[in-house]
Amino acid sequence: MLWIAIRMLTGDKQKFYGLLFGIAFSTLLITQQLTIFVNLIERGASGVYSAPEAEVWVMDPVSRTTEVNYAMPATALDEVRSVEGVEWAVPHLRAVASVRNSVGDLEGVTIVGVDDATLIGLPESMIEGRKSVLSRPDTVLIDDVGVTKMFSPGESPIGARLELNDQRAVIRGIADAIPSFTSQVTLYTKYSQALNYVPGTRNRLTFVLAGVRDGETAEAVAQRISDQTGLKALPREELAQSGVDFIIENTGIPLNFGITVALGFIVGVAIVGLTFSLFIRDNIKQFGALKAIGVTNFKIAKMVVAQATLVGAVGYALGVVGTVMFIYGFSGNPTFKGFYIPWQIPFISLIAVVVILALTGWISLRSVMRTEPASVFR
């Protein structure tokens, strides 16, 4: 009977494609929007992920994320270094500045000052140039998002001169960095050089990055630093999570994406529900005839479940493939750099599809179950 059920479904091509479209569209919308949402809010932790060596981040107690920070006195560095369990500690500066490029356009940028000696705080790899080039005077490295924002396609940023808060800066390399939540241009330079680029306030040390000794945990060392210095010290994962939480709590993004995901679900229910109901209604006489002939309600239910399963499986696969193609298609765009589909998202979409089909299938099935076999004689 399942063979007949599948033939009944695929035989009505218009409705079959309508059902597939409904499921695929819902899956695509839900999967794609959740993927963008997750990847976007993870950008709240990009500052942490772009400094992979740091195991503990130390900051002023009022600082909340790598972007929302308050500078500390320079003495904080020595205080941290004196805490037991700290293997090394280096200064790290993050500040915003305005840059004027060679054609006079103004752009807001993030200045990241990394330790002069070790260059800890730089992204792990470079797209062009070497990290050591920072030893040359007035040198900055630009991130790849910055290249697309500040330079025309095909134009090389290497050697370009910038006016950075009235100071000269020369781009001598492109860092392979994870874009920030706002995709703001990021310029990396030595800590000592960064002090020249940011306005001359008394305190400019925004973070101290620390490593922990063998046998110590980042959590224990961070707690010890907090206890002994009165500063806020967080293991890298905790600060990364703070960055994500900050975006969730302080932007309308979860609501906006939530609405889109809900719309995807509603559209799925509407399209699939309507089409499935029409399909069942068009075949109600045939189902009635089958019941009269001697097909049990249980077998009829299995037929409807088989139809829903086929539509769900194919539609879901199309939707997920569509999302993968979307992410792959935009992977060359720095705005979507590093985007990936966590396994939880297709799983959530699958649950949504199952719920859509269970709901619409149940509604349709009720009408089949209620159909009296005697109705075929009317």
């Binding site: 009977m1 063979w3 007949i4 033939r7 009944m8 695929t10 035989g11 009505d12 075949n283 006489k285 045939q286 009635g288 005839a289 089958l290 019941k291 009269a292 002939i293 001697g294 097909v295 049990t296 309600n297 249980f298 077998k299 009296e372 076999p373 005697a374 075929v376 004689f377 009317r378």
Partner: protein
């Protein structure tokens, strides 16, 4: 041709015993009510009837006389409000729902007025539906259905979808579907309603050839007076009561 309604007596005769052995359906005291808003409409008023194997029995009557309700009850697809129906000795409304469905699948073949063929499967598969429903694999079921389609002279149309067939051809597929699982009772609802006179007679001749046999009963609901002469027995229903039981239509009809 036997045309008397068998009545149970306390001392059955030899001929009555033979008649009972030949009985396909025995319905007694059938009442059927339908709710219509606040009121109840009685469609069948305590009908007693017997259908015998080897006969082509017509149930005739005007629209609303209760003939469709009666055969629906007789073939186990509509519960009577009161009364008992025995089909080949089985009290079918004493069976559980699943047992009743399986009983229909094993013992009854249906030919619907509008055929109710599945539009997306070909004629052979449509004819094979009861076998598939009984659990037979597709190919053997189709093969068996093909034999019947050949016997009905539409074997060459077996791979066509219902929409590619004429009304008469669809009717033959429906007949094949009703007979493919070799039921002991065949129920036809207005088999000639959608056909012209000559096609109607051909279908009825065909039905007589393939559906009527010594161990099989055939009930036909119709009000097509062009085919009344082909009946072995005619039950006339008027306002939910059997008013005539004979080999010919009574005068005035």
């Amino acid at each position: 041709m036997m045309n008397t309604m068998a009545k149970t007596t306390s001392t059955p005769t030899a001929s009555q015993s033979a008649s009972e052995a030949n009985t396909a359906i025995s319905a007694s005291g059938i009442i059927r009510d339908f709710k219509a808003g606040q009121s109840t409409i009685r469609v069948l008023h305590g009908i007693d009837a017997e259908i015998r194997s080897g006969e082509m029995t017509y149930v005739v009557g005007e629209s609303g006389s209760g003939k469709t309700t009666l055969i629906s009850i007789m073939c186990g697809i509509l519960w009577p409000t009161e009364g008992e129906v025995r089909v080949f000795g089985t009290d079918i409304y004493a069976l559980s729902d699943t047992e009743l469905v399986n009983f229909r699948l094993e013992n009854i073949g249906f030919i619907f007025q509008q055929y109710n063929l599945i539009p997306s499967i070909d004629a052979a598969a449509n004819a094979a539906v009861p076998l598939i429903a009984k659990g037979m694999a597709i190919e053997p079921a189709r093969k068996k259905a093909m034999e019947l389609l050949d016997a009905l002279n539409i074997g060459d149309q077996a791979e066509k979808l219902p929409r590619q067939l004429s009304g008469g051809q669809q009717q033959r597929v429906a007949i094949a579907r009703a007979l493919v699982h070799e039921p002991r009772l065949v129920v036809c609802d207005e088999p000639t309603a959608a056909l012209d006179a000559s096609s109607g007679r051909r279908v009825m001749d065909l039905l007589r050839d393939v559906a009527v046999s010594e161990d099989r009963a055939c009930i036909i609901v119709t009000h097509d007076n062009r085919i009344f002469d082909l009946a072995d027995r005619i039950l006339v229903l008027e306002d939910g009561r059997i008013t005539h039981d004979g080999t010919d239509m009574p005068d005035g009809h």
